[in-house]
């Protein structure tokens, strides 16, 4: 054998192997008779590391599933990597998951910019990009991105709900808005504006924004009060929500206070802000808040607490992110159950788009997961609630964004 032919052989061998492997792989990558491999990225480090608990709780839940025998006889191998909330790192890690780890699909990748960075890649590679952890609106677009699906109600949906409530219940409303200056804050603002329709220009009297790095938002609250607003649309993350509720109370501003779901935790936000200051706040909910006493004897909540103690003891049982993770993991378990023995990527997508009236234990009573071939928004229902000084009291009908 000449040197050249050896070289040719060496170069050709991997190509030939790849060629052989390809047709088999196209059907059920990441799936064996006993295992299904799932890829995930989460910010375990960096500015958004508070969300890291979601990845840990997901891993804990899949351990529980495996201890109970897996799904259709297959164990779940959940591979979760740190992307530090940095889009380039997400691209690298997701490519690693898809090309090197050969996962069956990518699931619950967290963050809007990070998911935007892999959106096109996963759709071009025809790898399911399931139940992404972001409230942006663009994830439910099966026509252009048939491999990507969201999960939670979008921020815009929630904005719609508040708009409807204000239009119906507040005579002569004047809305003052405080929002975080990024995609999350702007989506909420767009939601309420769309919901208000033509009235928006007249009704919204002031918009104030803050940067997530700002130390305080006191001056914004004072400005909003001085604008004469009688409705306060508070689009802030917990740290700033506490400040906003406190400051509004301290300066004697008593508007109808709409607090975004992001900061609706009783223990994390309302109690630190002060019970008196928090009374009569209104929010929209879809999950049961683990710090809300009304769920103390709820079977779903009891099961969740037992799960947390056994599988994720270091996790915070007051953190609603852990409720979120538990619920979205149950959503995936249902998809895999429905897949039966056909775990091809096509069928995984097909079953994810075939969830019908799925009730999960930690969703509010009456709220159900629904998807279809043209409906890639699994959760579209929320209910308004008012804080009575101790707990969130649900009121009114369940709002359904899909019935509009």
């Amino acid at each position: 054998m000449t040197r050249r032919s050896i070289l040719a052989l060496v170069l050709a061998a991997p190509l030939a192997l790849a060629g052989l492997a390809a047709p088999v792989a196209a059907e059920t990558v990441g799936v064996t008779a006993t295992e299904i491999k799932i890829g995930n990225t989460n910010p375990y480090s960096g500015p958004a590391s508070a969300y890291g608990t979601i990845g840990k709780a997901l891993a804990a839940y899949f351990k529980k599933v495996n201890d109970e025998g897996g799904i259709n006889g297959r164990k779940i191998n959940f591979v979760t990597l740190d992307d530090g909330y940095s889009p380039p790192k997400t691209v690298e890690m997701v490519r690693k998951l898809v090309e090197q780890e050969q996962v069956a699909f990518v699931y619950q990748t967290l963050g809007t910019p990070t998911n935007s960075a892999i959106h096109k890649y996963l759709n071009q590679s025809k790898v399911p990009h399931l139940f992404v952890a972001t409230g942006a609106t663009k994830w439910g677009d099966p026509e252009h991105f048939p491999w990507t699906m969201g999960w939670q109600p979008t921020y815009q949906t929630e904005g719609h709900i508040y708009a409807q409530y204000v239009l119906k219940n507040v005579p002569n409303p004047k809305i003052g808005i405080l929002y975080q200056n990024d995609d999350y804050g702007k989506d909420y603002v767009k939601g309420i504006k769309d919901g208000l329709g033509d009235a928006a220009k007249k009704v919204i009297v002031m918009e104030q924004s803050y940067e997530v790095t700002d130390p305080t938002i006191d001056s914004q609250i004072v400005n909003l009060k001085n604008s004469g607003a009688n409705v306060f649309y508070n689009v802030t993350i917990p740290k700033f929500a506490v400040q906003a509720i406190k400051k509004a109370h301290d300066i004697g501003w008593k508007p109808l206070h709409l607090l975004n779901n992001v900061s609706a935790s009783v223990d994390v936000v309302l109690k630190p802000a002060g019970i008196e200051a928090s009374r009569d706040l209104i929010t929209a909910l879809y999950l049961k808040d683990p710090t809300d006493p009304q769920w103390k004897n709820d079977q779903g909540m009891k099961d969740w607490l037992a799960f947390m103690q056994k599988y994720y003891a270091e996790g915070n049982t007051k953190d609603v992110f852990n409720v979120y993770a538990y619920t979205v993991a149950q959503g995936l378990a249902q998809v895999l159950k429905q897949c039966g023995s056909d775990l091809s990527r096509e069928n995984i997508m097909k079953q994810a788009a075939n969830l019908k009236n799925l009730a999960l234990p930690l969703l509010l009573p009456g709220i159900k997961v629904n998807t279809g071939p043209t409906d890639f928004y699994p959760l579209e229902q929320e209910q308004l609630a008012k804080f009575d000084g101790e707990r969130w009291v649900l009121f009114g009908e369940i709002y359904d964004a899909s019935k509009k």
Binding site: S45, D82, S86, P87, V91, Q100, P113, S116, A117
Partner: protein, 323 residues
């Protein structure tokens, strides 16, 4: 064999190996090496400024972002062919870097570090502010360029070769720049600015120019990164990126051209290894790696290699003489 002789043998071998990689490695690994080359270009830029000229910058992530967004906006808004966007990004950063260098002249050492740090802090917010151009925090999605002229290369392989080509050109330019009169002036300013001035070096002009060239290198790297990642967003260019660059040049070797490659390998792969070792505390492991490297190789990887090569050369020269 002398040290220079060894280097003359190693460099072509390394280039040949780099050209073979695309046919041996998976696309994912190629993508990682493309990122190494991109980081290497950025690190060389920072090293020209910090290592050779002695000006500390904690804000080179801002120039990286400027380069990336120049490319992204030109492709996304005006459909400019990507090849043209790279020199434009470099030129724009050259001008901005030069202009930033003029007021920065009044600042020495740590004060300059703080001023540039402010730049790094500000850039994500500035990018969000010009939402109309930058797409705000949603960023801009791009497509990976396909190989031209019907070359049978996939986009990953093609981008790898483009990046390698840009890297080689920029490294040769830097080597030429730094080994001649200009380079000696740049180093002289670092070692003793007053003596340099007395020798007739225009310190102000040289320092601003060095800042500009350094920014241009980093900007080109940013432009290539926009193509490789096919996405830009403000969150990709936080303060941490600038600090990572500084880590890269110190670990790689200050005032060394090859050090940029070693530094790039470090900042690309060591965080991943750290995560493989411990999911619970990857940054603690990374910190241990950093300390170990600094302890074992206080002059960076390139500095230590130079020592070893020098000793080898002397040893072999010695035996020859003895024989």
């Amino acid at each position: 064999m002398t040290g220079a002789g060894l280097r003359r043998a190693i460099v072509p071998a390394a280039i040949a190996a780099a050209c073979l990689l695309p046919f041996l490695l998976s696309n994912f690994r190629l993508f990682q090496f493309t990122q190494v080359f991109i980081y290497a270009i950025a690190l060389l830029g920072l090293n020209i400024l910090t290592g050779f000229n002695g000006q500390i910058s904690l804000g080179h992530g801002a120039f990286y972002a400027l380069g990336a967004y120049t490319t992204a906006i030109m492709i996304d808004r005006w459909s400019v062919p990507y090849g043209w966007t790279i020199p434009v990004a470099g030129f724009l950063c050259l001008v901005v870097g030069f202009l930033f260098g003029i007021p920065a002249l009044r600042l020495e050492g740590l004060y300059l570090a703080l001023a540039t740090f402010a730049l790094a802090l500000a850039i994500p917010q500035i990018l969000k502010y010009f939402e109309h151009w930058t797409g705000g925090s949603q960023g801009i999605v791009l497509s990976k360029p396909d190989a031209p002229f019907g070359l049978k290369l996939n986009p990953d392989q093609w981008l790898y070769f483009v990046t390698l080509g840009v890297l080689l050109v920029l490294f040769v330019l830097a080597a030429n720049l730094l080994s001649r009169r200009t380079g000696r002036a740049i180093v002289a300013i670092r070692d003793n600015p007053i003596a340099a001035q007395a020798m007739g070096v225009n310190n102000a002009l040289y320092k601003s120019l060095t800042f500009g060239v350094s920014a241009a290198y980093t900007g080109v790297a940013g432009a290539l990164s926009a193509l490789a990642i096919a996405f830009v967003a403000p969150d990709a260019f936080n303060v941490f990126l600038s600090i990572t660059f500084l880590v890269g040049i110190v670990i790689g070797g200050l005032a060394s051209i090859s050090g940029a490659i070693f530094g790039a390998l470090f900042i690309q792969f060591v965080p991943n290894w750290a995560q493989d070792i411990s999911k619970a505390a990857p940054w603690a492991i990374y910190g241990i790696f950093l300390i170990l490297f600094m302890y074992a190789m206080p002059r960076g990887i390139a500095g230590s290699l130079r020592l070893v090569l020098g000793r080898l050369a002397r040893a072999s020269g010695g035996t020859r003489r003895a024989a």
